[in-house]
């Protein structure tokens, strides 16, 4: 295989995963949280594809495609929720969603 080895891809994927996780953990805008979640799922995809390449089997690619769809679905539901909340005139700030606590 040309270029960097699979390990390099995996390292990239792990760092990307961490970046996404970091985004989820620190951002308060639900939109950006959703975006960060997309990054996390994509990091998983990158790992899947790298392994797929490493193993020479295509299951990883299939998995990645399925994940892509799932990610899209989550985005749809998430956006729907955000829209619904905006109708209730709620600030788009996850930290202010604190009616349920304790």
């Amino acid at each position: 295989m040309d270029g960097p080895g699979i390990a390099s891809y995996l390292i990239v994927s792990a760092i990307l995963f961490a970046i996404g996780a970091f985004g989820v953990l620190v951002r308060r805008s639900p939109l950006i949280v959703l975006l960060a979640l997309e990054i996390m799922l994509n990091a998983g995809n990158l790992a899947l594809l790298a392994f797929s390449r490493h193993l020479g089997g295509e299951e990883g690619q299939i998995f990645a495609l399925a994940v892509m769809v799932v990610a899209a679905s989550e985005a749809v539901v998430g956006l729907g929720l955000i829209v619904a909340m905006s109708r209730l005139r709620v600030d788009l700030d996850v930290d202010k969603l604190r009616t349920l606590r304790g």
Binding site: A21, L25, R27, D95, L97, L100, R101
Partner: protein, 631 residues
Amino acid sequence: MTPAAWVALFAPAAAVVMIALAGHRITGRAAGVIASGATLVSFVATVVTFALLLRRHEEERSDASTLFTWLSAGDFRVGFEIVVDPLSVFMMLVVSGVGFLILSYAVGYMATDDEERRYHAYKALFVFSMLLLVQAGNLLLLLAGWGMVGLSSYLLINFWHRRRSAVGAGKKAFIMNAVGDATFALALFILIQQTGALSFAPVFGRAELMSDTLATLVALGLLGGAVAKSAQVPLHTWLPDAMEGPTPVSALIHAATMVTAGVYLIARTAPLFELAPEVHDLAAVLGGVTIVLAGLIALVQTDIKRVIAYSTMSQIGYMFVGAGLGAYGAGLFHLMTHAFFKALLFMAAGIVIHALAGEQDIRRMGGLGRELPWTYRFMLVGAFALAAVPPFAGFFSKDAILASAANSGTLGWILWGLAAVGAFLTALYTFRMLFVVFGRDVSAYAREHLHRERFEGPLAMVWPVAILAVLSLVGGFLQVPGLWHAVDHWIEPVAESIEEASGGTAVFSAVAALALALAGIALAWMLYRRPTYGPERARRAAPWAARTLEQKFFFDEAYDLALYEPASHTASGLYRFVEAPLVLASLGDIGATVRGAGRRLAAVQTGVVRSYALAVAVGLAVLAIAFVIAS
């Protein structure tokens, strides 16, 4: 023979049930008649038993009868069992005979009380218990009767339960007797362990196999019971207080029968005591000490019943000396005569109290001899008997004990000495009381409160007293030193008495004791015939001694200090320092801690969704790192 004994036992029990069930449907007098009638039945049945026993050959005068198994555990079985033998019949005669007289007296004495029925029921219960005690065919049943008399005694002492002092006295009597019961029970445990039985014959048969230590412990346990029940030093303090009960109670329970049960016990378990000579001697020593101690205290008592009560203690001391030295016959003989004359004294005193509307303080009495001449005469008979002046009954029985002591070596002579001092004291305090109450001039109080009935008291109260007076006069001839020993002989199959002193020693003993008694009477005459300064001067001369006597040698205080107070403080301390903070509050504290932890944990749940994801991330990091490290 045994059927009659069973009848004797259950007749009073039946009376209790009848009175209890009848409740308000019968009058108090009827209840009294039932109770005394039942006791009469007991007495008649006892006489029948006695007659039947008398007809038998000396060796065969013992018969046991078991109704059913009362208690069992494996191979250990205790029957509801009575024994009919000379000793038990002797006691039955005293109990049911004197009991009948006193119960009859009580019908009159209690006629004005509004809880008369209860009284008669308790009294019948006592007679049942006492008969159970003396008839019991094994030690457990004996202990049962032992406890039951304690119970009846408790119930009767605080019969007038609105009086705080009566209630306290009842409790005190019960608890001190419970101590005795406990040591008694412990002795039985050893016996069961060693002999596997509690019936007299097997226990005595196998007891010899016990080690000396165990035999001593057994005897000590039994002695503990006897001392408590018979109000001997040091478990004697309840008896004077017990005078809070109605006077017939004092006569029956705290003079004639129950308190002498200790003597019976020692006689009954003589084989065990003989295995432990030290304890046997201890019994005698305690008796001797009690004689003097009680006699001294009695000198300063002002309550007519308490004077008699201390004299009771003192007289039982004689019996203990007798029984403790092995002179069972003498002890039991004194038990019987004492029952006669002490019941007589109490009942005569009861008439006085009755006549003075319940007053018991001798300082308020005086000159009653003229007002209550018959009572005075009865009392005089009792006093002479108590002071052991011939030919009254007390002389013969006390002389028998002294003679036996004189024949028992050094210890015997020491005890003889104590007994002789006791004889002097007895005469002194008895006649002090007699002179103060009946002599002198009629006191202001008596003038004001005396109310005479047709014959100094209701007839029901007088005739039993008269009978007892006769018995106190002639009862002593049952056994005359040197001539015949009917009592010794009678109980010999059960407990063989030691030889009395004879010849010169016997004469010396009798004369010396008599001399001391007469000296006591003479001293009383001088001091108390009319008010003198003698007693007051004596008091001034030795205030500490007077105080000691008035405080009864500080036994009550000592017990309070040594037992009651510590127990009470321990209880409060336990509650304050253990129960409340550790046991009761423990859960509350744990609960508060848990709740606090819960509150903190719930506070972590801030509602901020990012923190939830963070928890997942942290958990994941920890788990993954742990896994990697573990691999």
